[in-house]
C-alpha cells in the first residue's frame, strides 16, 4: 500500500463518486431518499469535510420535493390537505421545476468556481494547501534564550494572561512561569505540544492567527511573538499585528523576537516558508501604525544567529 493519507484517499473517493454520477451509475432518486434520512440527524448547518462535501449537500438540498406531507391527527384535515395538494399540483410543480433548476445550476457554477479557486491556490506558496499544511520542525526555531531577561523584564508588571505565539519548545514559557507570569503558548506544530508536556507548561495546538481571531478584545495582558514572526506571509504579519492590537489590553506589551534577515536564515524555513524575517524597522512601523507606543528595538550582533527584539506597548494605558 503506498503512503496515502486519509485526505487524499477521500479526494479519490469524491472523484469516483463524481464520475459514477456523470456516468449515470447512481440511482439519483433512491440515493436522495437515503441522503434525506442521513441529513435528518445531521447537526444544523453541518457542511462536512470541505467545499466538495458542502456542494454535494447543497446539490441534494437544491432538489425540492413538490409532494408535501398531508398526514394530520385532526379528523378530516388529511383529506383536505390531499385535495388541496391535488388541486395545486400543476402550479407547485411548475414553480418547483424552476427553483430546482436554478438551485442545481447555482451549485454547478459554484463547483466550477471551486475548481478554479483550487487551481489558483495551488499556484501560490502562500495558499498552496500542500505547503500550508507542511509543519516545519520546532528544532528549526532560533534559540530565544538570550532574550529571556528582556522579555521577563518587559512582561513582569502585567496583569492578565500572557500569550507566546509560536512557543516552539516552550523554553520561554518556563522562564515566564518561573518569574511568576501567568503565560500560555500556542503552536500549530504537533511536536511543540510534546515539548510543552515535558516542560509542564500550557500549550495549545493552534495556528497563531486562528487563535487571535478567537480571543476577545482586550483579553490578554501581554504577548510575545516568535517563530511565526519570520515565516508568515507579509499579509499575515500585518493581520497578526492588527489582531494583537485588538486582543491586548490597554497598556499591555507586545514583544517580537526574530532572526535578523541580514544574518543566517534557517535553511528549511528559507526554502519552504511563505514568508521571510522582516527588518526591525518594519516591525516598528507596523506596531506604530496600529497605535503601539514606547516602541524599542534591540539587536544583538554577538548572539548567533543575529537576532533582534522589537517591543511596544498597546496604547491607552
Amino acid at each position: 500500500m503506498p503512503d496515502a493519507d486519509a485526505a487524499s484517499l477521500m479526494a479519490d473517493i469524491e472523484r469516483e463518486v463524481r464520475e459514477r454520477r456523470r456516468a449515470g451509475q447512481i440511482d439519483d432518486e433512491y440515493e436522495r431518499e437515503l441522503d434525506r434520512i442521513f441529513d435528518a440527524v445531521a447537526p444544523p448547518g453541518a457542511v462536512g469535510s470541505g467545499l466538495g462535501a458542502a456542494l454535494m449537500r447543497a446539490e441534494r438540498a437544491a432538489v425540492i420535493d413538490p409532494v408535501g406531507p398531508v398526514a394530520s391527527r385532526i379528523p378530516g384535515v388529511a383529506l383536505l390537505r390531499r385535495a388541496l395538494r391535488k388541486l395545486m399540483a400543476f402550479y407547485v410543480e411548475h414553480v418547483v421545476r424552476q427553483v430546482t433548476a436554478f438551485g442545481v445550476m447555482v451549485v454547478r457554477a459554484m463547483r466550477l468556481l471551486g475548481e478554479r479557486v483550487d487551481a489558483v491556490e495551488a499556484r501560490s506558496p502562500v495558499t498552496d494547501p500542500r505547503l500550508v499544511n507542511l509543519a516545519l520542525p520546532v528544532a528549526s526555531d532560533f534559540d530565544v534564550a538570550p532574550w529571556f531577561d528582556l522579555v521577563v523584564k518587559t512582561l513582569a508588571p502585567v496583569s492578565g494572561r500572557v500569550l507566546h505565539a509560536e512557543c516552539g519548545n516552550g523554553a520561554l514559557l518556563v522562564a515566564l512561569h518561573d518569574a511568576g507570569i501567568d503565560a500560555y503558548g500556542i503552536d500549530p506544530r504537533p511536536d511543540a505540544a510534546a515539548f510543552a508536556d515535558e516542560r509542564r507548561v500550557e500549550v495549545r495546538n493552534a495556528a497563531v492567527i486562528d487563535h487571535l481571531r478567537a480571543v476577545p478584545a482586550g483579553a490578554l495582558g501581554g504577548m510575545v511573538v516568535s517563530g511565526c514572526a519570520e515565516r508568515l506571509a507579509t499579509g499575515d504579519i500585518v493581520e497578526l499585528v492588527d489582531r494583537a492590537a485588538r486582543v491586548l489590553a490597554p497598556g499591555a506589551p507586545l514583544v517580537v523576537l526574530s532572526r535578523d534577515p541580514k544574518g543566517d536564515l534557517d535553511p528549511i524555513a528559507a526554502d519552504l516558508a511563505p514568508g521571510r524575517p522582516l527588518h526591525p524597522p518594519t516591525w516598528a512601523f507596523l506596531l506604530a501604525r496600529r497605535g503601539f507606543e514606547l516602541i524599542e528595538t534591540r539587536t544583538s550582533d554577538k548572539r548567533a544567529p543575529a537576532s533582534y527584539a522589537v517591543a511596544g506597548v498597546r496604547a491607552g494605558s
Binding site: M10, M56, R200
Partner: protein, 400 residues
C-alpha cells in the same frame, strides 16, 4: 491532591460516553501516587428518567469513594414537549425559559452540589456541561471547578445559562481539538482560560474474535461493526438503510452488526443487518478484533472512544463526515475514511471491505495514533500536570 468528580450518574452500570470517561479517569487517579478521587452523583442509572435506582449513601466503586444522593423525579413527557418547543429557535430562548428547561431535564439534585462544595477536594471536575448539577455547581465552585464539557453542536449550547457554565470554571478539559474549537466559537471568553485537549486513554482488553462471533451468531461471515447505543439520533437508522442499499449493489456475505443497548430498533427486513443488543466487554473486544471495520454513524460525538478502541484492536474505521471530532481523528491519524452521504459511504465501504491491504494500512496508522496520544500513561500524566498547573495558578491568584 484530592480531586472531586460531579456527574449526573456514575457507576460500572453506566455506559454513557462522558460518564465512562470520567469513571476511567477517577479509577486511575485513585491509584496514582499523591492523588485521591471522590465522586458526587445521583442515584440514577437511566438518563431518560433519572429514577433513583441505586441506593443513596457512600460506597467504594473500584477504589473510588462515591457519594450518591437522591434527585427530584423527572417529568419526562413535559421535558420532551418543552424540548421540541425550544429547540426550534434555541438562540432566542430566554434565561428564565432555559433554566426552567434545565430543571425539567434534571437530575435536580442540590445535595450533590452542596456535598461537592463542602468537600475538601482541591479541585472539582464537572462532566458534562448539559445537566443540572453542572449548571448549578460550576458557578458556585468557580475557582475550584474544572469543566469537562463534552461540547456538542446541539440546540441547548445556545441557551443563556450555559455561558456562565463555560466561563466561570478555572480550567476546561476537552476531548478533542474540534470540541475545543466549537466551544471557543460559542464562548470566545474561554479562549485565554487554562485548558487542555486531553482525549481519553485506551487499553485493549481480552476478547477472542471466534468466541464473540459464536456469541452473537454471525457465524463466519465478514462483518462491519457499529458499537454503542442503537438510536436514530446516533445515525444508526440511516446506517442500516445505507448498508442495505450497499448490499443490493455489492451482493456477498458482508454483514452489519449493531452491538449495544437498543433504543430505536433499526428498520425491519433490511438485508444482512444483525442487532446483537448489549454485549459484555470481552465480547465487545472480540467483535472489534473480528470486524472488517468499525462504522461510527453518529454526527454528535465529542471524542468517540469506540473509534480509538477500534484502532487499538487493529481495525480501520468509517465515520460520519459531518462529525468534526471523528473526522478529525481520521485526518490526523490516517486511520479511517468518512462519508457525507450514500455515494461516499458506498465507495468508502467498498474499499475497506474489498482491499485488505488498504484496510491493514489504515488500521496500522490508527494504531500508531492511539499509541502516541491515547494510551493511559500518556493521558494521565498530561491530566495530572494540567490539574497541578490549574491548582497552582489558583493559589497564585489567591495570594495576589
Amino acid at each position: 491532591m484530592k480531586l472531586g468528580f460531579v456527574l449526573p450518574r456514575y457507576g460500572i452500570e453506566i455506559h454513557g460516553g462522558a460518564e465512562s470517561a470520567a469513571r476511567m479517569l477517577a479509577e486511575r487517579l485513585a491509584v496514582s501516587d499523591g492523588w485521591s478521587a471522590e465522586v458526587f452523583t445521583s442515584c440514577a442509572v437511566d438518563s431518560q428518567t433519572w429514577a433513583d435506582e441505586l441506593p443513596p449513601g457512600t460506597f467504594d466503586v473500584n477504589g473510588v469513594t462515591v457519594h450518591r444522593f437522591v434527585s427530584q423525579p423527572k417529568d419526562v413527557a413535559t421535558f420532551h414537549a418543552r424540548s421540541i418547543e425550544l429547540f426550534g429557535a434555541p438562540s432566542t430562548v430566554t434565561e428564565a425559559d432555559a433554566r426552567a428547561w434545565i430543571d425539567l431535564q434534571g437530575p435536580v439534585c442540590p445535595d450533590v452540589v452542596d456535598a461537592a462544595a463542602a468537600s475538601d477536594c482541591a479541585l472539582v471536575t464537572f462532566h458534562p456541561y448539559l445537566y443540572w448539577p453542572t449548571v448549578y455547581g460550576v458557578p458556585r465552585l468557580a475557582e475550584r471547578a474544572v469543566l469537562h464539557p463534552a461540547t456538542h453542536d446541539e440546540p441547548p449550547i445556545f441557551f443563556p445559562p450555559y455561558r456562565q457554565v463555560f466561563e466561570s470554571p478555572s480550567g476546561l478539559v476537552f476531548w478533542s481539538d474540534e470540541e475545543r474549537d466549537l466551544a471557543q466559537r460559542r464562548f470566545p471568553n474561554i479562549t485565554t482560560r487554562p485548558q487542555l485537549v486531553l482525549g481519553i486513554g485506551v487499553e485493549a482488553e481480552p476478547g477472542h474474535a471466534a468466541a464473540a462471533r459464536a456469541r452473537i451468531g454471525v457465524g463466519d461471515r465478514p462483518y462491519v461493526l457499529c458499537l454503542g447505543k442503537v438510536t436514530e439520533m446516533k445515525g444508526t437508522a440511516a446506517l442500516a438503510r445505507f448498508f442495505a442499499r450497499y448490499k443490493e449493489l455489492h451482493p456477498g456475505p458482508l454483514t452489519l452488526v449493531f452491538a449495544g443497548p437498543v433504543a430505536d430498533v433499526p428498520p425491519e427486513g433490511l438485508r444482512d443487518v444483525l442487532v446483537a443488543g448489549p454485549v459484555d466487554e470481552e465480547t465487545k473486544w472480540g467483535l472489534l478484533r473480528g470486524a472488517t471495520a468499525l462504522i461510527s454513524p453518529s454526527a454528535y460525538e465529542s471524542l468517540s472512544l469506540v473509534v480509538l478502541e477500534a484502532w487499538a484492536a487493529g481495525i480501520p474505521v468509517l465515520v460520519n463526515g459531518l462529525c468534526e471530532p471523528t473526522r478529525g481523528h481520521c485526518v490526523r491519524s490516517g486511520g479511517g475514511l468518512w462519508y457525507d452521504g450514500f455515494a461516499s459511504f458506498d465507495a468508502a465501504l467498498a474499499r475497506l471491505a474489498g482491499d485488505s491491504r488498504l484496510a491493514a494500512h489504515l488500521a496500522a496508522a490508527g494504531r500508531r495514533y492511539v499509541d502516541a496520544f491515547y494510551r493511559w500513561p500518556v493521558v494521565l500524566e498530561r491530566y495530572v500536570r494540567f490539574l497541578e498547573r490549574v491548582h497552582e495558578r489558583n493559589q497564585r491568584v489567591a495570594v495576589t
